[in-house]
């Protein structure tokens, strides 16, 4: 008995896909098979109906406008600020990323090699503000329903291994439920192009994002970062990692969170 073509191949015929040999075999089969001819006819009709009558949703003007370029003056000397004004606030902040990225990159270089020196500290100070900016934006984005967790678990032994295959570093993960800061989960995030781990904690009704990535140890206490749009930030370094906590909890609670985490 001649092998019959697989029924899925009928769709290849309908879509004009598949090798000529395959299509020829189907055509040959159709000649003697009314059932398959009827399937092909129905599916073609369905295709025409979908193409002709199903709704093709069009992006709302607001979305388009929000992302519309950035006027033609982009790149002209001194026009950088104006080129980014059309972006909604979080995007505008993102646009700022590449500038401090170079900075972050050089800081990472310091961490990697032993080169570098004091002059970088000044640049770091200048970069702190931008970094805080980016971190707060990321925090706000994460609060939108679409992107709080990649892994949702209150178990540090679930969250920590989850990062293992996804990052080139292993962020410390601690559940602080007993201290009033239960772990909710983890997320991969980016600050500029640096991939970072984000740990999500809750304190009463507030969400705390703790961003972690490798960086040079800076001896010293937990430092208060800038307050951005009503969000408090704190940062510290520990065991070759940089930590930035951001939340709308008050500064005292955020400090308590950081203290517990560092313990």
């Amino acid at each position: 008995m001649r092998a019959e073509p697989h029924p899925d191949n009928l769709d290849a015929l309908i879509d004009g896909e598949g090798t000529p040999a395959m299509l020829a075999a189907i055509e040959a089969h159709l000649v003697g098979c009314a059932a398959c001819r009827s399937v092909v006819a129905s599916k073609r009709k369905l295709g025409a109906a979908l193409r002709g009558h199903a709704t093709r949703h069009v992006a709302p003007a607001s979305l388009r406008e929000k992302w519309r370029r950035i006027p033609a003056t982009a790149g002209a000397p001194g026009s950088e600020t104006s080129t980014i004004l059309r972006f909604p606030r979080p995007i505008r902040r993102l646009k700022a990323a590449p500038r401090w990225l170079g900075l972050a990159a050089s800081l990472l270089l310091v961490a990697a090699g032993s080169a570098g020196g004091m002059h970088l500290l000044d640049r770091e100070a200048a970069g702190t503000e931008r970094l805080a900016d980016e971190i707060v934006s990321s925090h706000i984005r994460s609060l939108a329903a679409t992107h709080l967790y990649d892994v949702e678990s209150t178990d540090q032994h679930t969250v920590k291994p989850w990062f293992a295959g996804k990052l080139s570093f292993s962020p410390p993960v601690r559940d602080l439920a007993e201290q009033g800061f239960p772990l909710l989960g983890g997320r991969l995030d980016y600050l500029g192009r640096q991939q970072v781990a984000a740990l999500i904690y809750r304190h009463r009704q507030h969400i705390i994002n703790l961003f972690v990535w490798p960086g040079p140890d800076q001896p010293g206490a937990i430092q208060a970062g800038p307050v951005e749009q009503g969000y408090n930030t704190l940062h510290w370094s520990q065991n070759g990692m940089l930590f930035w906590a951001v939340s709308d909890v008050n500064q005292g609670d955020l400090q308590a969170f950081a203290d517990h985490f560092r313990d």
Binding site: A3, V58, L63, W67, T83, H147
Partner: protein, 187 residues
């Protein structure tokens, strides 16, 4: 040109032309405007971030893959029950001879009566009710008119899977159509 301006130019050239197709996919997968816009916001951000690393020759497929991944991530998180798969079937498990009984012996009526507004709405509704993976291939193939190769690239499966998924999705939609219209009409 500054790095910002370069990125903005790339974004304009590679991403913005595909906003409608991207939105159409997001809207069909999330099934409502507000969620589609959330997913799009996320996707555009991602595209903006990574556009300078894009090196392929198919920015449309690249953008659509970002969107579909964002959609499925969103669905897994917010509507896990929406991702019941259509089932790709066993490759080679059926032949034309054995599949025929699955079909109602009636082909679709010649007219499909889509001139009626109500029937157009029904078509939309049935497509919306399809399992997400079937809906996805139908939207990409019939509405975005993409090739199997591009669809395979976007959803990250072999071309053979695209074909079998499309076959099942169409079959399912035809059956649903027949059921819905049979119910709605006096015997």
């Amino acid at each position: 040109m500054s790095e910002d301006a370069t990125r903005a130019a790339l974004f304009e050239r590679l991403v913005l032309p595909h906003v409608d197709g991207a939105y159409n996919l997001a809207r069909w997968l999330t099934r409502n405007d507000a969620d589609a816009e959330d997913v799009m916001q996320e996707s555009m951000l991602r595209a903006y971030r990574f556009v300078d690393g894009f090196s392929g020759d198919n920015p449309r497929a690249w953008m659509l893959s970002i969107v579909r991944n964002a959609c499925f991530t969103w669905l897994r998180r917010n509507r896990p029950r929406d991702i019941v798969p259509l089932g790709d079937g066993e490759p080679g498990g059926e032949t034309l001879g054995t599949v025929v009984p699955l079909w109602s012996s009636e082909p679709l009526p010649a007219d499909l009566q889509l001139e009626r507004q109500a029937d157009r709405a029904l078509l939309d509704r049935l497509l919306e009710a399809m399992p997400a993976d079937g809906r996805e291939v139908l939207v990409l193939r019939e509405l975005e008119e993409l090739s199997y190769k591009d669809i395979a690239l976007i959803i990250g499966v072999p071309i053979g899977t695209v074909m079998s998924r499309l076959a099942r999705a169409r079959q399912r939609l035809i059956t649903d159509w027949q059921r819905a219209t049979a119910r709605g009409r006096p015997a």
